[in-house]
């Protein structure tokens, strides 16, 4: 398959994976936590490398999942001890991120990772990093990793759909009827962490946040049903990926940057034009209402 197609497929997988899981972050008002985790997984990746001495994707996923969960726990702990949530998030993630950066620079010779790459990703290289598994034709590593994580996420979400829903809407009731609220919380955080790492190589740590939040935020404005929101969000993720790619080739700029920009542009469009919750939609409704009420 051609170079271009692989980039679009991988970016779309990022859009779907992050878009769907991001919905739950938005509904739980945890968008900032996504920001935090997307940064601290850097530390997980570096530690995984230093310990295993390899760039194997599995070790990185494990490292990221552990550090991501640890981030979520530490934030929860500080918050519980009376530190404001935004302050806890800010302190924890900058600290972990800084350690990650320091480790990379100290071990710069042996780590095939640099901070730029980690932050911005380089999706253009994705089609050159192929692996062969069994009798399958050579496939990009990023594709295999993202597809596995996406499938894993979808299975977990189907298994725990009602738990994810009720703990997002009313954690007190959930706890009262015996649903393990904290387990579901950390399950979600674990999913966010591994999704972030899987997307990390392609779009970079910072731009993962755009894919985690913007598609879900757009979907939120268009529907009143959770399942529809999840599907719409995946759709917006893909749309941002594809349109971002063509914008990037058109103006010859960073692919991941353009994708993140397009997810923002799509959000702006929805924000203005959404029939029920958009700026224009609200105006139109008022207008219609006025003309109806003044009609003879």
């Amino acid at each position: 398959m051609s170079y271009e197609i692989w980039i679009i497929i991988v970016a779309s997988l990022v859009g779907i994976t992050c878009g769907v899981i991001g919905c739950f972050l938005i509904l739980r008002k945890l968008a900032m936590l996504a920001d935090a985790i997307s940064h601290t997984v850097l530390l997980g990746i570096v530690l995984a490398f230093l310990i295993s001495q390899s760039m194997n994707g599995i070790y990185m996923l494990i490292g990221a999942a552990i550090v991501g969960l640890f981030t979520a726990m530490l934030i929860q702990f500080l918050n519980h001890k009376g530190i404001q949530e935004d302050a806890s998030i800010g302190v924890v993630f900058t600290f972990f991120f800084a350690i990650g950066v320091i480790l990379i620079t100290v071990f710069a010779d042996s780590v095939h990772l640099d901070v730029d790459h980690a932050l911005m990703g380089e999706i253009a290289f994705v089609p050159f990093d192929m692996v062969e598994i069994g009798f399958l034709p050579p496939l990009p590593k990023a594709f295999i990793m993202l597809l596995s994580i996406l499938i894993l996420n979808i299975i977990l979400m189907m298994l725990f759909y009602k738990e994810l829903k009720i703990t997002s809407f009313d954690p007190a009731l959930a706890a009262a009827i015996g649903i393990p609220v904290m387990f579901i919380h950390y399950l979600l955080m674990g999913m966010v962490s591994v999704s972030t790492v899987a997307s990390f190589d392609s779009v970079g740590a910072i731009l993962v946040v755009a894919m985690l939040i913007a598609p879900g935020a757009s979907a939120y404005l268009l529907t009143n049903k959770l399942s529809h929101m999840l599907c719409l969000s995946a759709f917006f993720g893909v749309l941002a990926a594809i349109s971002g790619y063509y914008v990037a080739t058109w103006i010859d700029s960073s692919i991941s940057g353009s994708m993140a920009m397009m997810s923002g542009v799509l959000f702006a469009l929805v924000f203005i034009f959404s029939p029920t919750k958009g700026l224009l939609g609200k105006k139109m409704n008022h207008k219609r209402f006025r003309s109806e009420s003044t009609a003879p």
Binding site: K162, I166, D170, A176, I177, N224, K225
Partner: protein
């Protein structure tokens, strides 16, 4: 037979200061109990502690003679309406269905039977025509009724309701009280946090006066006296004619 609710020496603290001190009372089966006390008295905290939502410092909480276990499905809960985000993308029917989640078990979705129960329960609170309405498009009183319907499908033995009458019109309030009285007549035990002192004697057969400690608890006629109310509200009461009382608006 053991009482459905038995609380002994319960102390709860958020930080260092105790919010509930040495709370002790019991509630008999088939009663409708009002919990009355000023803002910040610890009424919501008491309910949350009983449900194990916040840890207790010391004391004993027994539901039908055993420590509270969610798995026993003995308890239904109506939180204060402001405790959830009503912009959540979900419908009234969906919210009521959440009351069934404790019965459904892992990895399963609500089935046909659950939906039928949820619809019946919406009908009981007069909300059947709003089943598919998104919850942000309901009025405050309608949202409160959805919460009530959700508690009803929990099919519990004991119900805790935190201020179910806030933002509800007089007709709905009467309808809800009728519903609670029906529950009581079925032998269920209902505990309601209530703010309107005018209606306490009319609505509740049992009563708990709470202000960090239990000032009094028991049968309403014995507990709901001017003197004990004074003690509960710390002199913030104004007395109207014929022994009726109300809380003085403090500005």
């Amino acid at each position: 037979m053991t009482n459905p609710i038995e609380i002994r020496n319960l102390t709860v603290a958020y930080d260092k200061t105790a919010v509930l001190k040495d709370v002790q009372f019991s509630i008999p089966k088939g009663s409708l109990t009002g919990i009355v006390g000023p803002n910040g008295a610890g009424k919501s905290t008491l309910i949350k502690a009983i449900l194990g939502l916040i840890p207790k410092v010391s004391g004993e909480i027994k539901i039908y003679g055993k420590p509270y276990k969610a798995k026993d499905r003995l308890v239904g809960y109506v939180p204060q309406r402001g405790s959830v985000d009503w912009d959540f993308p979900t419908s009234a029917l969906d919210v009521v269905l959440m009351g069934r989640y404790g019965h459904i078990g892992w990895f399963k979705r609500p089935g046909k039977e659950d939906t039928i129960l949820a619809k019946e329960s919406l009908k009981k609170v007069g909300m059947d025509s709003y089943a598919n309405r998104q919850i942000s498009q309901l009025s405050g009183g309608q949202q409160q009724r959805v919460f009530l319907a959700r508690a009803l499908v929990q099919d519990a033995q004991v119900y805790f309701m935190d201020e179910p009458f806030v933002g509800v019109d007089a007709a709905t309030e009467k309808a809800i009280i009728q519903l609670l009285t029906d529950l009581k007549d079925q032998g269920k035990t209902v505990i309601v946090v209530h703010h309107d002192l005018q209606t306490v004697e009319e609505y509740f057969d049992h009563c708990i006066l709470l202000n960090k400690e239990v000032i009094a608890s028991g049968v309403t006629e014995e507990v709901f006296t001017v003197e004990q109310l004074h003690q509960t509200y710390g002199g913030k009461l104004a007395f109207l004619d014929k022994g009726k009382v109300m809380v003085e608006q403090k500005r």
